[in-house]
């Protein structure tokens, strides 16, 4: 009986078979690009679940300790929080420009926008550091030395526990993002990207937008909700 399973075709008769950026186990550039993009989306699904655990804690404790959460929220600095929100939104815009430049093969535009994005990311972290140090000064760090003279100290401590867990984890993602951007910047400086190969820029952009979106949720939940 002839074996129907096996038939000889030589792996993907596409013109871009010789593209130096094509890894050997993919048939063509389109397959490689689709795989990478899907991979990043799957990874972001993982990230959503990761932050989801903390959002669940937030929702529960906000329900239990309404007054403590409102009071704790008043203690956050609205100005720095809002400024950071603007900074991240602008950085998403520059990131989008960077991806577009990469698609057009505009190396200069790519690098300029990457540097802008990284600068804005660093500014965000700097402002976060200012906010954190103010919290240390005011002794609202959960633990033995927590001091609270307003309503519901236990609820307020739960609020600050969640505040530090969530914003800390977000800041860690920003630091990782800056690391990824450095690599992308280095690669674009070396001229690794062109109109046919820009997937790394694209999926790094997806990551960056995701981290921004997390902040877009964190800002109203932590800074705004319950504020009069």
């Amino acid at each position: 009986m002839p074996d129907a399973n096996q038939a000889a075709v030589h792996g993907g008769a596409h013109v871009d078979i010789h593209n130096p950026n094509l890894q050997h186990h993919f048939n063509d550039m389109a397959q490689q690009q689709e795989a990478s993009t899907l991979g990043m989306w799957v990874f972001l699904a993982t990230e959503i679940m990761f932050f989801g655990g903390m959002f669940l804690c937030y929702i529960l404790y906000r329900y239990w300790y309404h007054d403590g959460f409102v009071a704790g929220s008043h203690h956050l600095d609205l100005f720095w929080g809002a400024l950071n929100t603007v900074i991240l939104i602008v950085s998403s815009l520059t990131m989008a420009f960077a991806v577009r430049s990469a698609q057009l093969g505009n190396r200069r535009g790519l690098m300029v926008n990457l540097i802008l994005t990284m600068g804005l990311g660093a500014a965000f972290l700097g402002i976060k550091a200012i906010e954190y140090s103010a919290k240390f000064r005011d002794k609202v760090i959960p633990g033995r030395h927590f001091e609270w003279h307003e309503v519901d100290p236990i609820g307020a401590q739960a609020f600050f526990s969640i505040y530090f867990a969530m914003t800390g984890m977000h800041a860690l993602h920003m630091v990782v993002g800056l690391g990824i951007m450095s690599v992308i910047l280095f690669m674009s400086w070396r001229g690794r990207f062109n109109e046919t190969y820009y997937t790394p820029v694209e999926i790094s952009g997806l990551y960056w937008h995701f981290v921004d979106i997390v902040w877009i949720f964190l800002f109203p939940l932590l800074y705004l909700l319950g504020r009069h």
Partner: protein
């Protein structure tokens, strides 16, 4: 070795029989399907064993009727289990009104008990046969679990809240008490015995020397902790009147209402500003660290003992 080989636990509470009946039903289902599947697998594997090296099986791809059959039958069986199990559970989980209330506190690694008449026990619990007994359980440190196999009853002792279990002992005797939730080094030493006694014997045991009752202990604490300065028996105090509050709905400052059960009373002492009663200021400090779990249970007992006389809400 010469030891006995018990195969079935003693049944000594009114609902042990219900739990066991449910158990036997599930054992029967399990045995039936295990034997059926194992029998079919072995029968097929022998009957249709390969007889020549190149032989292949018959070309059968499936059968919708069979798929439906073995989806629906298990579905029906599991729904029977669910309903029966829920019925038994709701009986186990809801203490009847008027049960005799005993306070239990778990701590590493012992169970401390106080009876309504004041008797205290450690790692033992004396109860009368034929009476509904309700345990209100707290924990001073980590999670424990109060487990009486002969009564088929168990509940966790969770720090930061109170849990309840109830039973009605049906047979006098001594039974095991285990801590079932892992709680550290001497977890397996956190055991004791439940002594179910005939009512007369129990009365005799009770008479054997009572300390102060939980209510009296709570009253003492109420004075010692100066609760009384704010919680007076008329509406003039800075805090709400506590007379008759237990079990009633309380209107809160944010407009919602909450039932003043044991856990609400406990929270109001440990984290008073979590739920502010309408018409009062959030002035009360936390008593965390000032009163232990046993003291809390006594305070709650005292508050529940206050006659309703003050104005309600």
């Amino acid at each position: 070795m010469g030891r006995t080989l018990p195969l079935f636990p003693e049944a000594a509470s009114t609902f042990a029989g219900n739990v066991d009946a449910l158990y036997f039903f599930l054992v029967a289902v399990t045995a039936f399907f295990s034997v059926l599947i194992a029998g079919l697998v072995i029968f097929f594997a022998v009957k249709f064993r390969r007889r020549s090296p190149d032989e292949v099986g018959a070309p059968i791809t499936g059968s919708l009727a069979l798929e439906l059959l073995w989806t629906i039958i298990p579905l029906i069986l599991t729904m029977v289990m669910f309903v029966w199990g829920a019925w038994v559970f709701l009986d186990l989980a809801r203490p009847p009104r008027g049960s005799m209330e005993i306070f239990v506190v778990g701590k590493q690694w012992m169970w401390k008990v106080q009876h309504p008449d004041g008797q205290r026990e450690i790692n033992e619990l004396h109860v009368p046969v034929g009476r509904n007994v309700r345990l209100t359980i707290g924990s001073e440190d980590v999670i424990h679990s109060y487990y009486i196999p002969a009564f088929r009853q168990k509940i966790d002792a969770v720090p930061g809240k109170l849990t309840t279990m109830w039973f009605n002992a049906s047979k006098a005797g001594e039974y095991h008490l285990f801590c079932a939730e892992y709680c550290g080094t001497k977890h397996s030493g956190m055991i004791g015995r439940i002594v179910a006694m005939e009512p007369d014997d129990f009365e005799q045991w009770l008479a054997g020397g009572a300390g102060s009752t939980p209510v009296a202990g709570g009253e003492q604490l109420f004075t010692d902790l100066a609760c009384v300065t704010c919680h007076q028996s008329d509406t003039g105090g800075r805090g709400p009147v506590l007379n008759g509050i237990a079990g009633k709905a309380v209107l809160l400052a944010d407009g919602s209402t909450v039932v003043a059960d044991d856990n609400y009373l406990r929270e109001s002492i440990m984290n008073p500003q979590a739920k502010i009663v309408a018409g009062y200021q959030p002035l009360m400090p936390t008593f965390q660290g000032l009163v232990n779990e046993e003291g809390l249970l006594q305070l709650i007992a005292y508050i529940k003992s206050l006659p309703s006389g003050g104005s309600g809400y």
